[in-house]
């Protein structure tokens, strides 16, 4: 029976149109709808399913960030996690926080809580780093099964099917291990209203990041954040000949 740690991140909701701040220092986050990173939802779902299959005994959700990260943890609890740990990171430290810092926190918590399995989403839809699982595995010196699309328990450990370019790879790993969830791993359940209410009774521990002894000094400086190039408007051509001429001009035929 394993104990599972799941990392969840609060990101701008996937359906929101992202706007860049006029001073190019980042994107507008004030008054914008946030929700749990979709890949992390898949990770939580997988952990909860492992628990339902009696492979896991306890699911712990972790999130690093300002006070609002607790809403995301609440969602994880509503989906079926047993308890939550909120690692408090605020202000400028949160803005320059990178996968390395998160991985250090996750690694530290994994050891403190004596977990056997860490599951995270493969990447967050805001910074698209796709590094946290890999760095966490390296720091812990545990095996990693990234981009998992299927996780099964086999006698000594786990058999994980991985999504790779143009196909699937099946690997066997011992536990403890780190898994990162890919899109096709499962269909996450919806956090219903009664479950959100019940989740308010589940335990949530608050830990300031510095109590974990993790150095959050920035490793990078954001120089500028810019919009992607705008798609050029099309033009209506009067007849077929002009169209053909234009296509030839553009080297398409």
């Amino acid at each position: 029976m394993a104990r599972v740690l799941v990392g969840v991140k609060r990101v701008i909701d996937y359906a929101v149109k992202i706007r860049v701040k006029p001073d190019k220092s980042g994107v507008v986050t004030d008054g914008v709808k946030h929700s749990m990173n979709p890949f992390d939802e898949i990770a939580v779902e997988e952990a909860v399913r492992l628990k339902e299959k009696k492979i896991a005994q306890e699911v712990i959700a972790v999130s690093c960030g300002p006070a609002q990260a607790q809403e995301t943890l609440r969602t994880a609890l509503a989906m079926g996690a047993d308890r939550a740990i909120h690692v408090e990171v605020t202000g400028p430290e949160y803005e320059t926080m990178q996968p390395l810092h998160v991985a250090k926190i996750l690694a530290k918590l994994s050891q403190d809580e004596k977990v056997d399995l860490v599951i995270v989403g493969k990447q967050a839809i805001d910074d698209d780093s796709n590094q946290t699982a890999q760095i966490t595995a390296a720091l812990l010196d545990w095996p990693q099964a990234t981009f998992a699309s299927k996780v099964e328990k086999t006698d000594a450990g786990l058999t994980v099917t991985r999504e790779i370019d143009g196909g699937l790879e099946v690997i066997k790993t011992k536990i403890p291990a780190v898994i990162s969830a890919d899109l096709r791993l499962n269909e996450p359940r919806y956090a219903t209203l009664p479950n959100i209410m019940k989740a308010k009774k589940k335990p949530m521990k608050k830990v300031p990041a510095k109590d974990l002894g993790v150095d959050l000094a920035p490793r990078i400086k954001i120089i500028s954040v810019e919009d992607p190039p705008v798609r050029q408007a099309g033009a209506v051509v009067p007849d077929v000949d002009t169209l053909v001429a234009k296509l030839k001009e553009g080297g398409h035929i």
């Binding site: 996937y14 359906a15 899109l183 269909e187 996450p188 219903t192």
Partner: protein, 84 residues
């Protein structure tokens, strides 16, 4: 005035309101429509009819859930997996 299954109706209304927060066209529109539907049938006093309506409401809840899941899955798939 008799209000059969009052608690179940309220629960359904609350659940739908909660789900409306993720509605693609906005919460306000969803809330207005929801309120209209519920107030239209608010005079209903036949318990069996109310029960049928609650069942329909539960069905709508499931449909909305499925809609949200599918919409999210498709958006993420289009953004990250479709190269062409």
């Amino acid at each position: 005035m008799a209000q059969p299954h009052r608690k179940a109706v309220l629960n359904l209304y609350k659940t739908l309101l909660y789900m409306g927060r993720d509605w693609p066209q906005g919460y306000d529109l969803f809330r207005k429509r929801l309120h209209k539907v519920f107030s239209k049938n608010s005079e209903e006093s036949d318990p069996n009819k109310v029960l049928t309506m609650i069942k329909h409401g539960d069905f709508v809840v499931k449909e909305i859930e499925a809609l949200y899941k599918l919409k999210k899955y498709r958006t993420i798939k289009r953004r990250y997996y479709d190269d062409n």
